[in-house]
Subunit: 559 residues, 2 copies
Amino acid sequence: MTENVNAHSQYVVGVDFGTLSGRAVVVRVSDGAELGTAVSEYRHGVIEHRLPGSDITLGPAWALQAPSNWRDVLRHAIPEAIAAAGISATDVVGIGTDFTACTVLPTLADGTPLCEVHGLWFRPHAWPKLWKHHAAQPQADRINAVAEERGERWLSRYGGRISSEWEFAKGLQVLEEDPETYRRAERWIEAADWIVWQLTGVESRNVCTAGYKGIHTEDGYPSREYLEALNPAFGDFTDKLGHRLSPLGGLAGRLTTEAAALTGLPAGIAVAVGNVDAHVTAAAADAVRPGQLVAIMGTSTCHVMSSDQLAEVPGMCGVVRDGIVDGLWGYEAGQSAVGDIFGWFVDTCVPPEYHAEAQLRGETVHDHLASLAEQQPVGRHGLIALDWHNGNRSVLVDHDLSAVVIGQTLETRPEDTYRALIESTAFGTRTILDAFDKSGVPVTEFIVAGGLLKNRLVMQIYADVLRRPLSVIRSTQGPALGSAIHAAVAAGTYPDVKAAAAAMGARTEAAFVPDHDRADVYDRLYAEYRALHDYFAGDRHGGSGVLHRLRALRNEVAK
Amino acid sequence: MTENVNAHSQYVVGVDFGTLSGRAVVVRVSDGAELGTAVSEYRHGVIEHRLPGSDITLGPAWALQAPSNWRDVLRHAIPEAIAAAGISATDVVGIGTDFTACTVLPTLADGTPLCEVHGLWFRPHAWPKLWKHHAAQPQADRINAVAEERGERWLSRYGGRISSEWEFAKGLQVLEEDPETYRRAERWIEAADWIVWQLTGVESRNVCTAGYKGIHTEDGYPSREYLEALNPAFGDFTDKLGHRLSPLGGLAGRLTTEAAALTGLPAGIAVAVGNVDAHVTAAAADAVRPGQLVAIMGTSTCHVMSSDQLAEVPGMCGVVRDGIVDGLWGYEAGQSAVGDIFGWFVDTCVPPEYHAEAQLRGETVHDHLASLAEQQPVGRHGLIALDWHNGNRSVLVDHDLSAVVIGQTLETRPEDTYRALIESTAFGTRTILDAFDKSGVPVTEFIVAGGLLKNRLVMQIYADVLRRPLSVIRSTQGPALGSAIHAAVAAGTYPDVKAAAAAMGARTEAAFVPDHDRADVYDRLYAEYRALHDYFAGDRHGGSGVLHRLRALRNEVAK
């Protein structure tokens, strides 16, 4: 037998709970080396049409998940990752987790999900609502209207709009559509905190989801008066939340005997406070200093940045004290579709010969389009698009917007439009960066994480459009590594997340650098993008309301 | 043998010279029955890259034709059509022709095309320039700028813009790029008149092309001073044109012995004055009275309408006295791409599964998209498009414009965009009809001819958008029938085109009728279309110049 080079090393386990699966990774504390990983697919995936094993149907825009699927990640992925790493579980000193958000569920006082309580499983509102459950829009509209009317101070922290995806809208929907389930819900808790409860046996609430998804500010939660103005029976809602919040990287508790049996990890090891997938990625990229903005670019893009300044940045998803790392203001912004736009285009707008040619070359259609598109000089296709195929999260916070493409001719080829769509998302990113800069919290470094960083054309266009070098995260499993870093802090092996990130996280600086000639042309195109952006943003922004009227007509005739 | 029911009948031959082929049809004078037809494809088609049988290359946007190909139509299609009709050529009393326009060529004083003169064939400028030769844009720009500067009265007759496709721009290009060929050109003549010259042995010039393409008004041609302001050597240009114009349906001359030998028709029969494909179609549809607008809908759409009023209609291609029928003002308008937009979409924007599904059903992709699109309520797709994929002929007269599509989302399907593009061309037509109505020359009946009338979805959308019943031409070979009608007038069998059209032409009234509920929704969408139309029409129209700036950038980086 060869000597085990990892002997006497310490390890942490990071577990990333995504939309369709959970991933565990075993990481060496000293340097962040990722030694083994395993994935557990959720058996029920996203529950959108009917409750599992039943005829009970869900309404449009519903999206639920099953807590048992999350437990299965603990049961299967963790031991498999340990085995793949070839280490001894006894050398693991801590575990950290991150979750999608806002994914939220009603439970009893002991943490039992209501959907697992006898006699409640057949009630759709007893199940966890996944982040992309969008059926609470009427409640969100009321939340915003009443907040504006009452001049609630916290509203500006969220770009002036509370999302239908967040805790209050989803909770109000439960009350109004199933009051009995609402009454039975002793706790209303983020899955990010619920999973930690499963590991520690004690309830904790993390500052991140409370701040970004739970409208918690220095003033606490929204007042009882405000809640009763929404619905007289909603005044007790915050009693179901946690009022003592725990810092990110903090120790939520110790692994219970039951959880140790489930995971194969040693009982009593440190369990980190719950966290969110996008936010832990900043640590994995070692990008937790003021001005370092991490863009997690995938189907959509999430931007997280810490700053020592509090500013009201128009169209932010939220700014939260200690929201990314302890001691700094954490800003979050987002683009509601990025990779999804490119995917939609490839799936529905590309003719057969491109598919055939890609197959012949052994490329994906994406790669084939990219290879054609990257040969073009900037501006050659004559197109500009607005990247609003799924609405606009930042800076307009308006999900009733839709896309615009201008400049097509009978000579326009698929690769032209494909390139224009990539550029449109880069212009959208620049719009967000400009909002940060103008609000006094400048972005000093742009760091890319997420699946799109593998797309060279996308990265180069972003470098050219943003006119700045792009850093890229080193790890291919950023969230899981980020959770592991938080576990190391919780275990006390590093004094704080910043130190742990420096040792265990990594990024490559200037992985893509701008070409100044291309950037000059993009400056001209970006000016056009911004003018179109403002024109189509709608009446509220001084432009044309045409996109809102088209959406209203669509909804009217769809009935 | 059965008795020949056509014994003692009289016949005429109509010949339609299109872009890729010529078609002859044999028509009974008494009732317009089409008895036989034959097509002759042009051997050289559209000459765009190099002169036939040579290495001599052409510049971008060039488009030439070969006169020998046109002669072949006389030689082959006419005898074949007579044979197919099963009649005796001796019963033919006249022949009429129509041509694409402005298709124009330089000849010697005897009509010999310069490209057939020894020592000149290798000069590209010696060849006929097809209507879609677009390489004279710099000359057209100068023609317009100088005319505006000098306040030339005739400019307003052409919607304020002379096209690069027309006689003067193409002639000026010859002068400036090949002065020797310009000097050798004793005549500069429309192919519409040149083909008649081949049949009669004498030169004639028709009032239609002279008016629409040759800037001929009651004041004659543009003045020598104006021409010299364009280029000092251009002052003699109108000497190469015909100053005595012949009316439509008039007798150009008699069929020569040579032409009789070529065609198999009797020498001495009537030959009608030359004409244009779109314009003769009005007669074929029996739609030559004031207010009857005929839309010839194919790859592009041409609108022709007669009126007893002279008005300046913004964005018309031209208004010409006697330009469609003798005694009335003839208006022409156009949409520079219609079927071409649908074709571009099907060729470059529709994914493989739609092609496969269409094949499975034994349908074309067009039919498959149409069957999916026609199930939608109006407004359901949430889209609006501007139909400017090939610029805008009427009412903006601007070929530097390009298309706009707004409202796409990740749920948008190909049939949604396909329907929106069809609707956009209908909105474009409504814009033109509105311009006529507002200028005091109202459209009282809308008659459709051309290939698109077979597309039921397109027709119904037009009826709904225009909020009026559509008439459709009966004949499937409108231009050739229209030419035959003009031949019958030239032969003296009818007193005028109006009477001949009534006897020989035909249309079906109210073939498609509007649905008022759909029309109500289209009124709302049309208002949005017009607002976008004005916004994107450019600075000159008080909107945004973004499309012009994109085009300028495209041209700049293409170099």
